[in-house]
Symmetry: C2
Subunit: 371 residues, 2 copies
């Protein structure tokens, strides 16, 4: 085949703290073996992408020129990210598009001309290379937009319930619960009969979740938050939480309420209850430290949670089952919605970048590189 | 037998925030079944006892009269400890003494007149009741003082290494490492070939641990602390920590250094390394919140650690093995040292109470109720 030339969005951090995010031309590699080249039609901007794209850099104060953003990265982050200094890193975890070239392997050849969704990285580009065995074919009735977010959020939401089973818990608490991911979790828990406490930050978000049938929705912006949370945790007996926020006291508050509920009516023990309480931090919407007051006894766990190692821990059989379910329910349980569609160039404008970098719940952007 | 009258130290918190710690007379119950009555000769004041005895009450500002302390408890603690309001709670987890009465069961009768060590609670008293099956007989060559601390610290130190094996880790970090417990852990790890990083807070504590042969001792009061810690963690490849302090940033710093060491030389990943890192908080020498900066990726755990549930988790076989080892090495590996001996009355003086309540490493008190 002839050499394809494409454009891709890259993020480069220099040792002096300069972050450059720009569109760069690149030669699309000729696929070999099970590789396929995908002409990218839709790729979502997830919070996990923003970590690599901008991190904690000062985007409000950045310089914007067509196809290029130059921003300052704060010094502690510059040091922490030493391993990426000087490297132009492609961005975009997942997306959907059409296979336009394929390696010689039958799995790759079988996808020629097909619309697929995948999770290879580097999807903020006109073209991306993926392994055919990791692609899911979308079929004619599902658009690239509908199929663009088939991995990160759906597999994360499904893995939350599998992580719960893995650790022997029976009900969940979820924060930032009005997100696309949160709405998927509401639908999964409804279908699977898992009691779920949704914590959101506004009346409008309460309405969104009530609108899709969520039973327990608690608004952390209200004065009655802790009392409301106690009622919901008592009703569900939830002992495991997934937190997208990370910073501040919310995780600590959830554990405190779980401890109060499990201890209620019990004799005093200076060490607290022996009831397990486990909170996973899977996001960092708030980059400030997690503050644990530890007024919840000595039987508790707070852990980081990341999709890839957890997929490994859950095993191939559960992973395959989850992928089948995502494909079957892509336009129902796992439907995503977007605030705006932008081209690669538009994604690098001040208006777009400051808006999607605010990471507001329910305001996700979709990049349409060939749109 | 005739009714025995004894004296015991009790701690009572009233709903109005008044904490009363006093010596109270009590009728020693007649033992039945496997119960034995122990004339208490020595009982240590461990940090875990101070939680029930005083908690966060203002002992500096308390009123002291002979045999009685009256102090104010801060309001949040009064609320958190609602379940103990108005109850006069006996204090003193563990201790040693002589069996002076026994229930009809052969296990109990076999201990009559014997010196034993046990862990029944209520040991700050002239007499305490214990289950014979939970007592360890000390034999003639071991004094009550030598046998008084045979449970809390020895089983905790041994359980740290078993917890490490349970989770598949190979080396440990320990904080407040110059404590009696810390010195036991040094000796256990030496005997068992477990690499151990000891974190202490002064030059004097470095000297104590070096004096008993500890290899890796890091002083957190030095400017070079984080660099020194990185060298020690790199040398030991420690990926699990036990922290007695709880409050502040130390746990976060340990996880950060573990992440840097495990990531060193690796390609940049925005999500951090996949190397497990686990910190257990088993004490609360600093009651302020635990502050986690989360600059150590997404594969990490911070957990509470408490002896009793962990003994259950490790199982009866390991627990029995640990008890045998403690008894065999009570005057070597598991020897404790005390700053002062006090009677029950002396323990309630301003001079003693403010001194032992400062919880300074290596300054443990021993109560000798019949001494």
């Amino acid at each position: 085949m002839t050499q394809l030339h494409g454009q891709q969005l890259v993020s480069k951090l220099d040792a002096d703290g300069t972050l450059t995010v720009e569109l760069a031309g690149f030669d699309v590699p000729a696929p070999t073996g099970t590789q396929v080249v995908i002409r990218v039609e839709a790729a979502p901007i997830n919070p996990s992408d923003l970590g690599l794209l901008f991190g904690p850099a000062d985007i409000e104060g950045a310089t914007f020129t067509p196809g290029k953003i130059v921003a300052r990265m704060p010094e502690p982050a510059v040091r922490a990210m030493q391993a990426r200094h000087g490297m132009a890193m492609p961005v975009g975890n997942e997306g959907a598009g059409t296979v336009v070239a394929a390696g010689e392997a039958p799995e790759a050849q079988a996808l020629m001309g097909k619309r697929v969704t995948c999770f290879p990285g580097g999807m903020y580009a006109t073209h991306a290379v993926a392994d055919a065995r990791m692609c899911m074919e979308l079929g004619d009735e599902i658009s690239a937009e509908q199929g663009a977010s088939a991995f990160v959020n759906p597999l994360t939401a499904l893995s939350f319930t599998e992580t719960m089973r893995y650790h022997g818990h029976k009900a969940l608490v979820h924060t930032a619960a009005a997100s696309n991911l949160g709405q998927m979790l509401v639908k999964i828990c409804q279908a699977d009969g898992i009691p779920l406490v949704n914590i959101v930050r506004s009346e409008a978000q309460v309405a969104i979740l009530k609108g899709i049938g969520a039973e327990h929705v608690v608004d952390s912006s209200k004065d009655s938050f802790l009392a409301d949370l106690a009622i919901a945790i008592d009703a569900t007996k939830a002992t495991m939480a997934f937190d997208a926020i990370g910073g501040g006291k919310l995780v600590s508050q959830i554990l405190t309420v779980m401890e109060q509920v499990s201890n209620s009516g019990a004799a005093y023990s200076r060490y607290g209850s022996n009831a397990p309480k486990h909170a996973f931090v899977y996001g960092a919407l708030d980059l400030s430290p997690t503050v644990l007051t530890r007024n919840f006894g000595f039987v508790w766990d707070v852990s980081g949670w990341l999709l890839t190692p957890w997929l490994g821990k859950l095993g191939a059989e559960i992973a395959a089952k989850m992928r089948s379910r995502v494909l079957a329910e892509l336009t129902t349980t796992f439907a995503s919605s977007y605030k705006a569609h932008v081209t690669l160039e538009q994604a690098l404008t001040r208006e777009a970048a400051t808006d999607y970098n605010a990471r507001r719940t329910g305001e996700k952007y979709l990049i349409t590189p060939n749109g």
